[in-house]
Amino acid sequence: MELQGRTWKFGSDVDTDAIIPARYLNTSDPAELAKHCMEDADPAFPEKVKPGEIIVAGKNFGCGSSREHAPIAIKAAGISCIIAKTFARIFYRNAFNIGLPIFEAPEAAEEINEGDEVAVDAGTGIITNKTTGKTYQATPVPLFMQQIIASGGLINYVAERVNKECTK
């Protein structure tokens, strides 16, 4: 799967309150959450983001709360993937579980500029900055998590397991 789009750049330690402020957590409707995605980091973001675009950020992206509403809001806003130096651990798991592709690639996160056209091969983790022509390799994902992705997310993975046990 190739993901391609223009990039939006953010700094380090972007927290889940910036991604989706708690004042909007009285709903879990993805479309509602998307309307406020990244609002406290950039109030105009929900208006200007277009489907397929990519977020590029510094270290510790998604720190703070365990709210799954954060990756849900980003995915529903149309973002195709996130490239960061590092991710906070709960956000990292949540993104995989809900099927939002994320890539740890410190050099790419450092060098890609806002507005660059970037393509990511989700299978190999190869990131290409089409604006500069430079390529990067994202940190490989553990095999176990690749299986979760192959099942289409954690719930499908668990459902497959439960069904298997029932038919034993």
């Binding site: 708690a22 009285n26 709903t27 879990s28 365990s66 590092t86 949540n94 579980n97 439960v162």
Partner: protein, 420 residues
């Protein structure tokens, strides 16, 4: 093969003799929890799995503590969803308003989590129970849904960092100051993916409340869990309280750590973390002259008896500054009642403070104390991110209950010694 306390608990729950950092394990969970914000998403995902029941009705609890007592119609609907699920699946523990508490104050108090447990919760501050010697960590709603169905979760065994605290605590210094100081030293990602093990003579002398506070904020350094080895203080707390058998684990003396930090607590003053990250901690005297509009005392970080007693000690016979509103949130109904019996509630009300039923409310900018544009709060909570307690242009300063009480009296960030 030597192991840390975290590795031992994980190995036990994975049915293995030993585990090593980096290893992926499938682990049995002793207890799982979610709240009124994260449970609705977990319920939605749980129902997609297609199982008839949760793995164990006694080991799943959904605590409506965030936007409760219901702050608006949408919140009421989320809380109702949680209540209906709890009834439909016959969950043993459901805590309605009036019996409810802030989840991470409530579960240890009710003996639902204990030493040696493996607990996951759809709330990032689930790491609190490390204060009892449990492995506990926050997860998202989907991970929780899977654990509700299977009674298991997959985990990567974290590397451990050891923090050794020596020396005598200075007056008005508590677990909150030690953890703010630590996060200030290592940064908000200083323990990313790792386990923070708090050890040393100063920790061995620390109350259960302060240990819970320290482990509560391990997530603010990016950690997977925080943990304190259980001892006589732990035993005194859990005996007769824990509803399930518990087990005390200790790290082997030759267990390996990726890093060891050593701190002399006699050099640590009461801390304040200035906006907008918990790592911005400094001695209260170095916070500058900061006038404030609100003081919040409570939360899963500092809403326990020890915290209320400290605040009351300073507020007794004093008045909250005319420019300040002070809101106090006992962590549970039991804490509320005990505070009432000890006369603490009267002290708070006489001082001009408002006392609320337990709720996470203002800590996450939900309700019951939201800041307007330009307003500043001193809070005993855990996060001071942009917009955390309200308007994106408001500010939160994190501190212990003594600093919060002193600041409420003087109308600016103040050291407890200034009002003694």
């Amino acid at each position: 093969m030597p192991m840390t306390i975290t590795e031992k608990i994980l190995a036990n729950h994975a049915g293995k003799e030993h585990v090593v950092p980096g290893e992926l394990i499938n682990a049995r969970v002793d207890f799982v929890l979610a709240n009124d914000i994260t449970a609705p998403v977990a319920i939605r995902e749980f129902e997609k799995i297609g199982v008839a029941d949760v793995f164990d009705r006694e080991r799943v609890t959904l605590v409506p503590d965030h936007f409760t007592p219901n702050k608006d119609i949408k919140s009421a609907e989320q809380a109702l969803l949680v209540k209906n699920f709890s009834r439909q699946y016959g969950l043993t523990n459901y805590f309605e308003i009036g019996r409810m508490g802030i989840e991470h104050c409530l579960l240890p108090e009710q003996g639902l989590v204990g030493p040696g447990d493996l607990v996951i919760g759809a709330d990032s501050h689930t790491c609190t129970y490390g204060g009892l010697g449990a492995f506990s960590t926050g997860v998202g709603s989907t991970d929780l849904a899977a654990a509700m169905a299977l009674g298991e979760t997959w985990l990567k065994v974290p590397e451990s960092i050891k923090f050794e605290f020596t020396g005598e605590l200075q007056p008005w210094v508590s677990g909150k100051d030690l953890i703010l100081y630590t996060i200030g030293d290592i940064g908000v990602d200083g323990a990313l993916y790792r386990s923070m093990e708090f050890t040393g003579p100063a920790i061995e002398n620390l109350s259960i409340e302060s240990r819970l506070t320290m482990c509560n904020m391990a997530i603010e350094a990016g950690a997977k869990n925080g943990i304190v080895a259980p001892d006589a203080i732990t035993r005194a707390y859990v005996e007769g309280r824990c509803k399930r058998p518990y087990q005390f684990y200790q790290s082997d003396p030759d267990a390996s750590y990726v890093k060891v930090y050593q701190y002399d607590v006699s050099k640590i003053e009461p801390q304040v973390a200035i906006p907008h990250l918990p790592e911005n901690s400094r001695p209260v005297g170095a916070a500058g002259n900061v006038e404030i509009d609100q003081v919040v005392i409570g939360s899963c970080t500092n809403g326990r008896m020890e915290d209320l007693r400290v605040a009351a000690k300073l507020l007794q016979g004093k008045k909250v500054h005319k420019n300040v509103r002070m809101v106090i949130f006992p962590g549970t109904q039991e804490i509320y009642l005990q505070a009432l019996r000890e006369g603490l509630i009267e002290i708070f009300v006489m001082a001009g403070g408002a006392v609320s039923t337990p709720t996470c409310g203002p800590c996450l900018g939900g309700h019951m104390g939201i800041l307007a544009k330009g307003e500043r709060a001193v809070a005993t909570t855990n996060r001071n991110f942009v917009g955390r307690m309200g308007h994106p242009e408001s500010e939160v300063y994190l501190a212990n209950p003594a600093v919060a009480a002193a600041s409420a009296i003087l109308g600016r960030i103040a050291a407890p010694g200034e009002v003694e």
